[in-house]
């Protein structure tokens, strides 16, 4: 069994009076693609936010590479998001004022990389995701599928250890969704990046090595960490 990269234990989180997580526990192995499924309002997105250090749980622990994310100061969490984590949402995470290339280069710019070097690296990633030639366009000028591939390039440009994707194909048609998922899984496999995939779409979940279901704020069946072999659609992509 693999060593967990990220471990969450008994996470509890409420938004005002509404409970979102009620003791959710989960492990994500290095290089694993894990799908978290569940009905609307089951707490999937909140779980992702807690695991990525975007929000702090009310109680429970999140451990990453020996560090307790729930105890880390905001500055260190920001650094982790810049270097070790990538985040992709359904839409809206790209900055409308920046071009596609600058959006991808943003984490590198924030880390102090020179603009020329950051843009060159962004260009390479845009090429990998098949959106080369769109560098100068702003998010509003891109199609939904293109914008999502730019968002993926931005999430992966720093060679993160884990990518958190919240319904990455939720706003796309089936063809664009398939292209985005193939690109994500293929790149993650190549670079050994773990992917935590939030989805309610069985076809998207099929790309994962493992699937867990969230019900009423708890993980219904956490399952065991994979021994290392990819399965189903993910295996096809890796081939």
């Amino acid at each position: 069994m693999s060593t967990p990269l990220l471990t969450a234990r008994d996470l509890v989180k409420a938004h005002g009076p509404t409970p979102a997580l009620r003791g959710a526990s989960l492990e994500l192995a290095a290089g694993e693609v894990l799908a978290v499924t569940g009905a609307s309002g089951s707490g999937k997105s909140t779980l992702l936010h807690c695991l990525a250090g975007i929000v702090k749980p009310d109680s429970g622990t999140v451990e990453y590479a020996g560090e307790r994310l729930d105890l880390l100061p905001e500055k260190r969490l920001s650094e982790l998001r810049r270097t070790d984590f990538g985040v992709v949402f359904q839409f809206g995470q790209l900055i409308p004022e920046l071009t596609a290339a600058d959006n991808v280069a943003l984490p590198l710019l924030l880390a102090g990389t020179s603009r020329a070097a950051a843009r060159e690296r962004a260009g390479e990633w845009l090429e990998r995701f098949g959106v080369r030639g769109q560098e100068a366009l702003r998010p509003g000028e891109l199609s939904g599928g293109q914008a999502q591939r730019v968002a993926l390039a931005r999430a992966l440009v720093t060679d993160p250890k884990a990518v958190f994707a919240d319904e990455p194909t939720g706003a796309l048609d089936s063809l664009a969704g398939e292209q985005v998922m193939t690109a994500l899984i293929h790149t993650a496999r190549e670079s050994g990046t773990a992917v935590l995939l939030i989805t309610h779409d069985a076809q998207v979940a099929a790309y994962a090595d493992r699937e867990v279901s969230l019900r009423d704020g708890t993980v219904a069946d956490p399952g065991a960490l994979p021994a290392g072999s990819a399965t189903s659609a993910a295996a096809e992509v890796s081939r």
């Binding site: 938004h15 809206g92 924030l110």
Partner: protein, 447 residues
Amino acid sequence: MRTDLRLALLLTRGSDRREGWRVTLTAVGAALATALCLATVAVASLQGQYHSALAAGLLEQPGERAGVVLTLLLLLVPVLGFLGQCARIGAVHRDRRLAGLRLAGASPAQVRRIAALEAGLACLIGSAVATIVCTPVLLRQWQNPPVTVWADCAGVALAVPVVGALVSTLALRRVVASPLGLVRRVRPSGGRPGPGLAVLTTALVMLLTGLAIAPRSFGGFQTAPVPVFTVVILTGLGAVWAVGASARPTGRLLAGRTGNPATLIAAERLRDDPWAGARTHAAVLLVTVVGTGFVGVRQVLLDDLTGRDADSFPTNLSFYTTGIDLTGAAILLALAITLSGLAVGTAESLATRRRGLAAQAAAGVPQAVLGRALLLETALPLAPAVALAGAGGLGIGVWYGQLAGGGTVPVLPVVVPVAVYAACLLAAATSLPLLRRSVRPAELRHQ
């Protein structure tokens, strides 16, 4: 810092027309604030008897100059309110952008610096323009200005952008706190009055205690500006607090009882964001206190002047009336500035909510109902606040009448809050054409 500056410039270069408006209006507001501060510094630095052709001799004696300084400082209030409204243009859009930066790994300090640089640069442009224009004017009017005044002027030119940047940073504290920005907004539980009430109560108690313990030094003619300024600020803050504090109970009460769709929409909006009115009307309420108080003081002064024997005046009557008229003109200017700010704020609020409004229109809510709801959103919380602001101003007039010893009770000031209330409704109505555009179904496509 270089990285932050580079990102701030990249973001500014890629921003849309609305962002351009924000930068322009912020620069205009900063220029006005700088000009007023420079004039205050210049007048305050004059020593003893001074001859000037400006303002009908109002700058000649130290006593009158203190009044001019006070007026200039009071004029700063609506200008700062206007600056606050300008900062709100495109606020939701900007909040999302900065939250996006946090999501990409920017630390809270980095986001604060980028936001401060964006606002500070706009204020710096305005401040620089005002300084360049005002300096030759001051030089032409001034005989042998002391060296320290130039240092003060330089301080003002630098302080305005710094203050603008600090205010912007403060306004963005919620975005800085979370990479999700305002996406998941939790409605406050309500019920608690918040720290504003405690601060106001303490300040009022301190003022009343001061008046009770030392009525001569606290309530005399010589120190009149101190209690007047305190009452203006406290009543203004109280009125602003009243808008927010009364909005939620008013909304709850109306939402439970009304059968009118427009009232229901307005009531639910008041419950959802009770402090929206307070943010939009803060400067107007402060001007209402100042305006009502001024009209009261003016009536007392004019009654006193016209009631006296002409031989008892050492100078021409116009010396006094010019000062009063200039102050009145300044307050009218302040009202115009705040009403412009109010129109900007209402239009901005509509632009921010255009998707929700379009959804309501698409669901069959008539445009007339939405228009009435919009006006009610302004009218309902503003009524008690304007009444309170007017009462505060009236109090100043009555108190001044007692100080003057003439026993005059000014009644004219009562007109001011009524006129301001009507003007506010008119300013809100100017955004109705924008409402017509906002409720187009095409707006549903915007994020």
